[in-house]
Symmetry: C3
Subunit: 438 residues, 3 copies
């Protein structure tokens, strides 16, 4: 037997006692059992929506890159979910919310620190959701930060090094800097606002993406003789599936960040999130059609994501008009940003920097411009952006640098040319199709 | 600063006041805060389900057509969501529900017409959901009508003309004719019934699809020397993904049309919707296997959609048996309809007319046959079908005709032969695969 | 009659009594309409999540097999949903839950046995959900058992025979053996525990998969001259989409098996389910990387499913640590199992036996090891595994054997070589791509 009969019995009684504890506890917090149940149910719905974003990231990244690296990318994205959930279980959760539980080694760490039903499951969030709900929602969030990096370093990063980086970033960097705001830390006390993570998730991922690209360099063949040579995506249907799934997941990402099922706030967030995405599509469509002279699918796909990232910091605190303007500007920004990074020879295969870093910064600043809450100040938002930028850039640079000097960061030239799938994984992702020569 | 400090403060207090207003308001309407929250949460779940239908339409349409037009179709379907949401924001919403808010320029139009928390957010639907929820659910619906057209005119329509048409159709036609029933207009008062839109969404889209096809003509190579030459789909996995996502979304499309989380009605709608889809698969399978002599995947895919469209008008008012019969007959109809349109040289690449128009009409009439509510009369349903047919045919014909004479409706022959992707978008959707010669 | 009236009445009273013991406080006050609505809404959300698993199975199976059999597989998987829902409507539901409604021919059979609103819609599950909700949730479950078989017999089974088998299995075998536990039958009374169906769904499907493979034999070219020749998957993106959709659906599969929206239990189930899947990925990654010397995408995909199947029997009754260990061991098991089946020349194209049968057995036994409820005994779990194994093996062998002797079970050698799509369906699934010669 894995657990002693005594311990099993004790845990069993705690679990079965939940239902009895729920009623008085929730009422003690001034919330009925029914309201507690609705809130908790909505948070779990938001959790599975955030989960499906990982499939969105996977298909977007695969679609926008070359067929020869498909298995590698899918392996990365599947692993990240697993690594993210487990490291957040072992370390991250308690690191991020230090006010709630003492100790460094976190959630239910090997079965010892899981709170009992009374303190942990009901009282935790004053009638909004259980401890388990809070953990799983936050854990799904945490894993997305690492996924953002994945796209930027695709097609040349060494798998093992990337997995180590992801684990460290989710386990340490993401929760530490996250606690500055969501853990009630110094930026929170200063008045910094980031509703669902334009900075805390998207820029945090984006800064790591930038350092990764800097230390890796561009893919072979991207910049030749001072010229930019586009590397074509291998499947736009996959990329489009990815964007729609990300948009879908954002209803949970932003909608769940209300942290309850409050009808007014959650529905407002649905509206601002959707309209910012729609405006992002329009902004990028108009600009790219004008600038490039043709309607560019990958630009409007990134435009919708740009709008979503842009409104993430302010989705619960802007007007409908505000959300449309934020999205529209995000869509414009993303087009020029993609072109600018290319110009500076920063090779970002999926546009992750433009979408997550640049529009994450824009969205965070936009709180100071469009928020209906006068307590939100532009200069404080700027301080927050700066603080996260410095901390994340420094830490991710350090980690990537150490990995480069130890395990190595980049695959061999031959492997990159012939494809990571055949070299690193021993098998191609597509086997019955005639492929073009590489 | 975008807004004056005064206005920001005012809006902020309104937003923060929501939670306090919710309790008395909801109770005043005889509904507890808890019930209001459950209802609203379900409507938001239904909203994201309807959203994902757009990905379903996109992958279905892409899968059933040729690889060379993939980017074009994905561009259309992504744009439609954006255009649909934004035009419905600016115009459609208030046009469709004129009884609720005065004025032609609608929802939160540039920040001036958004209702305040008391009147708009809580009192709006008597304890069922907020104003924002109502808007976003309806806006997602509106965009589907335009998407239906997309499939029918695929592979030859000019992108810009189609986008203009979509905007106009969602902004003006859909809401005006929609108000006849859902806005409490003349057909509603007459006793016409269309639960979730067999007519109001699917036929409205279907009639426009028909006029589009008529004014465009068939694709090159479809009808040669009086013979029907099938144009083969390029990816049946994408088409199948599309159908499953549409079916998934229909749980929100029909389930959300209950307009509350009423346990009996929503669960009945889940059952009738699912069984009609299942029966549609069986009906089309049996007939197509018999008639064509082989089990045809595209037929059963369209059969499931036919069943779904068929039951949409009556999902809350038929018995389980009724829903199975409606679905079964829809499945039979769709097979013969696809063959008939081919015979009449009406080239509909994805079968949109058979699924949405023909089964939309059938489903609307079926209310008069299978409804358990004796107030639903077949002849009134017939009047409704006729009225929508005349109005939508006329208006969509007019719009398409004007577009044909001004911007042009069809791409050049060379562009159609070589693919819209390379000509209109400058890049192929698949770049590492060896494609067959066009 | 399946059970004597006396036994049925007894089971009904036992079930009712259990509910009273479990939720005395709620009953003391009576379950409020609000709580009823939340519970019912969550169960409907769980229903659409289980629905989307069918798309997950379809894309996983298609992705892991060859392009030439794609239409055939998609046809099977689309049909199974339809057949499963309809046969469960006509027969299965009442067969499985005999204590609740009289009669052999089940749910609303042709409109005569549908209960009225009072008895059927509200009283049915004492405040948890409606009769319709119960039916549609269970019907979606039932169809998954048949789908599991589909993957194992892919690329060589005759379509018509497989469809007949599915109908019979869902209509008769699944509900009869299911009633042993979930219908309050002998195994339930003995103390056997299977929370969401490691055995009742996954092993039940797995045993049929085994007999199907035994009677069909391996695919041509899989075992040549005593050597194992891998048959390569045609699209790993499709396979990965499948796994993520299955994981997504599992939130409903396990989360819905709580049979209410109970905050503590549903959130615990979300955590244990996710962490088991994550641990399954890690377990299979470590072992396969070690054993095969390379990171194998298909192994970690199956590893996540293995973890999910493994925790399904115990998701509401283990600790967080317990779930991680169950998932980790599942991930290890699946790698060795896949290699072992290959060695024994059991040709299972998608690894269905390793995932669903082997890890289903492991997960059921794991209840006896990791459960926090001391009433759960390892030997009783073993009895359950054995009973289901004997019954399902015998019955599915019999059905497949009869089909083999009557309709035939396997396609011709020529058809298998050239592809089931072109032979059985008359059209390829991919038409604009240059395919490699078969």
């Amino acid at each position: 037997m894995f657990l002693s009969t005594f311990k099993r019995t004790a845990i069993f009684f705690i679990l079965t006692a939940l239902i009895f504890i729920a009623v008085p506890q929730a009422f003690a917090a001034g919330v009925s059992q029914e309201m507690f149940t609705v809130n908790n149910t909505w948070m779990l719905v938001a959790t599975f929506l955030v989960f499906i974003m990982h499939l969105g990231f996977a298909t977007l990244e695969v679609g926008l890159t070359r067929a020869k690296n498909t298995n590698n990318i899918l392996f990365k994205n599947t692993s990240i979910v697993a690594i993210g959930l487990l490291t957040y279980t072992l370390v991250g959760f308690n690191l991020m919310y230090p006010g709630d539980f003492n100790g460094w080694i976190g959630f239910a760490g090997m079965g010892i620190s899981s709170p009992d039903g009374d303190a942990g499951l009901i009282g935790y969030a004053e009638g909004a959701y259980t401890y388990y709900t809070d953990f799983i929602f936050q854990a799904m969030f945490a894993a997305t930060a690492a996924t953002i990096v994945s796209g930027a370093v695709a097609e040349r990063v060494k798998l093992s090094s990337f997995l180590v980086f992801s684990a460290v970033y989710v386990a340490i960097v993401y929760p530490i800097v996250g606690s500055w705001k969501w853990g009630g830390g110094w930026l929170d006390q200063m008045g910094f606002y980031d509703f669902a993570g334009s900075t805390l998730v998207h820029s945090v991922g984006g800064w790591a993406a930038l350092t990764g690209i800097m230390l890796l360099g561009p893919r072979l063949g991207k910049f030749v003789d001072g010229q930019i040579r586009p590397i074509l995506p291998h499947s736009m249907p996959l990329a489009t599936i990815g964007v729609f799934l990300l948009w879908l997941g954002w209803f949970g990402f932003n909608g769940g960040s209300v942290l309850s099922a409050d009808p007014g706030l959650v529905s407002l967030v649905f509206v601002t999130t959707s309209l910012a995405a729609a405006a992002g599509v329009m902004g990028s469509m108009i600009v790219s059609w004008k600038v490039q002279g043709k309607p560019d699918l990958s630009m409007i796909l990134n435009g919708s994501l740009a709008g979503l990232v842009g409104v993430t910091a302010s989705a619960d605190t802007v007007t409908v008009t505000g959300s449309i303007l934020i999205g529209l500007i995000s869509g414009v920004i993303v087009v020029f940003s993609v072109m600018a990074f290319d110009k500076f020879k920063i090779d970002d295969p999926v546009g992750a920097l433009s979408v997550h870093l640049v529009c994450g910064i824009w969205g965070t600043l936009a709180v100071g411009i469009f928020s209906t809450n006068p307590a939100h100040k532009l200069w404080i938002q700027f301080v927050g952006v700066l603080a996260y930028g410095v901390a994340c850039f420094a830490m991710s640079f350090l980690f990537f640098f150490v990995l480069k000097k130890t395990m190595g960061l980049r695959v061999s030239e031959q492997e990159e040319r012939e494809g990571l799938d055949i070299h690193e994984h021993g098998v191609e992702a597509y086997n019955d199709f005639q492929m073009t020569s590489k």
